[in-house]
């Protein structure tokens, strides 16, 4: 995504012959203008906000004093929230991949003419409000709820153990709410896999497993990468699951940013926390995408 040495395997180079020069870039203009006006410009404004003198206030206004110490203060007070957010989001992403891959695979290869129906069934539950669904998980996972009962009966959970208000509930909520972000890109990728390649692997005496490992899975890698990103990124900034299914002990960085913005009106702190979160996510993503060798995706 940033300028780097092109290698022989770089898909940009491979595809060069099919790309046309000329006026095609004009297609990009309307969307780019939208992003420039309503994303880039406000974000730059946010950067200046993060450097305001923290002694100002919401009511009286702030002075721009290039107060970089805001960042130091923000990290000192909240590093544990950052760590917790990335841990929860990471675990939730792995579980989403474990659930989403079989689902996407089944739709792409096994659903036949029910493919479209199954595909919409993936999203159908998510047309119902996110808040309503999370609130019903609160009922399902509650101390009197069926899941807690069953786990206590089979002694996976102590008699006085609980699920709600624990990290388990928050991570379960994240998994549930971000699952379609994993499933849809995986499906898009798997659906494009040429069946003849898998047959060829079988013809060449690959076992079904090694055929999957060496043909199907590598071909679905762009889907895996975009699926994990689309799950991990919103999960690490989420605060609704922690608010509805957890307690302040499970709060994530999103909760802190939200309260700094909306409750405390501490704009410099909120802005610097936001930009730190954004920066960490971007760095992690670039590193991950490089490792996976799918730069063309971004």
């Amino acid at each position: 995504m940033t300028e780097g040495p092109a290698t022989a395997t770089d898909p940009v180079v491979d595809g060069e012959t099919t790309k046309r020069r000329g006026w095609g870039w004009l297609l990009l203009v309307p969307g780019m203008l939208w992003l420039a006006a309503f994303f880039l410009f406000p974000t730059v404004q946010l950067f200046f906000t993060s450097l305001y003198d923290p002694s100002g206030s919401y009511e009286e206004g702030y002075a721009l004093t290039w107060h970089f110490a805001n960042y130091v203060d923000a990290v000192r007070d909240t590093w544990n929230l950052f760590a917790r957010s990335f841990l929860y989001a990471g675990i939730a992403t792995v579980i989403c991949l474990a659930l989403g891959y079989p689902l996407a695979y089944a739709i792409a290869f096994k659903a036949g003419r029910w493919k479209n129906v199954m595909l919409v069934l993936v999203i159908a539950p998510f047309f119902t409000s996110f808040l309503l669904r999370t609130l019903s998980w609160r009922t399902i996972l509650s101390d009197e709820g069926p899941v807690t009962d069953v786990l206590q009966t089979i002694a996976l959970l102590p008699e006085d153990g609980r699920l709600l208000a624990t990290p388990v509930a928050v991570i379960a909520g994240l998994v549930y709410n971000f699952l379609p972000f994993m499933t849809l890109p995986l499906y898009a990728s798997l659906d494009k896999v040429d069946h003849r390649l898998i047959e060829a692997a079988g013809d060449l005496y690959a076992s079904p497993f090694s055929g999957f490992r060496r043909v199907t899975f590598p071909l679905s890698l762009p889907g895996v990468v975009s699926g994990t990103l689309l799950t991990f990124i919103p999960a690490s900034g989420d605060y609704i699951n922690a608010e509805l299914l957890g307690t302040p002990k499970q709060y994530m960085i999103g909760n802190r940013i939200q309260s700094a913005f909306l409750t405390e009106h501490n704009y410099p702190l909120a802005a610097s926390l936001s930009l730190i979160l954004m920066a960490i996510v971007v760095v992690m993503v670039v590193f991950y995408v490089r490792r996976a060798g799918t730069e063309e995706l971004l």
Binding site: M1, E3, T18, R21, G22, G24, W25, L28, P30, G31, W34, L35, F38, T43, Q45, L46, I107, F109, K110, A111, G112, R113, N116, L119, V120, L121, V122, I123, A124, F126, F127, T128, F130, L131, L132, L135, S136, R138, T139, I140, P180, L184, A188, K192, I198, E199, P208, P222, S226, L230, S236, G237, Y239, I240, A270, S274, L275, L277, M278, L297
Partner: protein, 291 residues
Amino acid sequence: MTATAHPDLEAGGTRTPPQAPRRSPVRWLADHLVLIVGILVLVYTFVPIGYIFALSFNEPTTRSATGAFEGFTWDNWTSICEPDGLCESLRLSVAVSLTATVLATLLGTLMAFALVRHSFRGRKSSNLVIFLPMATPEVVMGSSLLAMFVSLGFDGVLGFLTLVIAHVMFCLSFVVVTVKARLAGMDTRLEQAAMDLYANEWQTFRLVTLPLAMPGILAAAMLAFSLSFDDFIVSNFTAGQSLTFPLYVYGSKLKDFPPQLFVVGTLMFLVSFVFVIVGEVWRRRRLAALR
């Protein structure tokens, strides 16, 4: 759906190579295991829907209905619009999401074509700009947008317009990525073949490129609609005094929770379901007509 769907699923699968000669029992089990696991995952995603469905018939004895099932009643279904502002919030949500979906899908698909099919200076930085909104927590986008609207003097008109602006903004990148994923792996030889057979550029686009890209575009539109319809965080900042449905639910969480909310939750699900069935019937009719 498992019981009735199963034979058809197998029948549909015969396009791919299940009759290959070296199919071992292990392979057979593995094949069906994936389908079973997939269906189980789908069932899991429907668990809260079941709860919402059941609670839509709940007759709560207290004012707040988030808790357990207390008694059966049809009343909630006949009095959907009774809670103050509920139906207005739904109307606003539908209007915002439809507008935002159309705009985002259109702009995003154009962008995806530009990025995948054309080479120009600044492609990589364009990709970065498109990627950044996805790496930005919603709370950041929402608050920075609100700050900008206020500083531009939009305070008075916060509502439909500002919601659409914000929703298109955060849906756009998802549309671009989804359509791009489809375009990036598309076999361009099919288009070359069409050109070799004397199709002009427009015919090639309309008869080859667009149908091949369509699953990606539709998936992107569905994603955009569900993102927009369900959005709480960004809307919370940009809605001003108006309430979308998620904002209405969140507001109710803090005070009385009318059971009609569960009716709306159920209806949302049922409506999308009807859309699917109608779409599928239409698709099959069209296929039959082509034969």
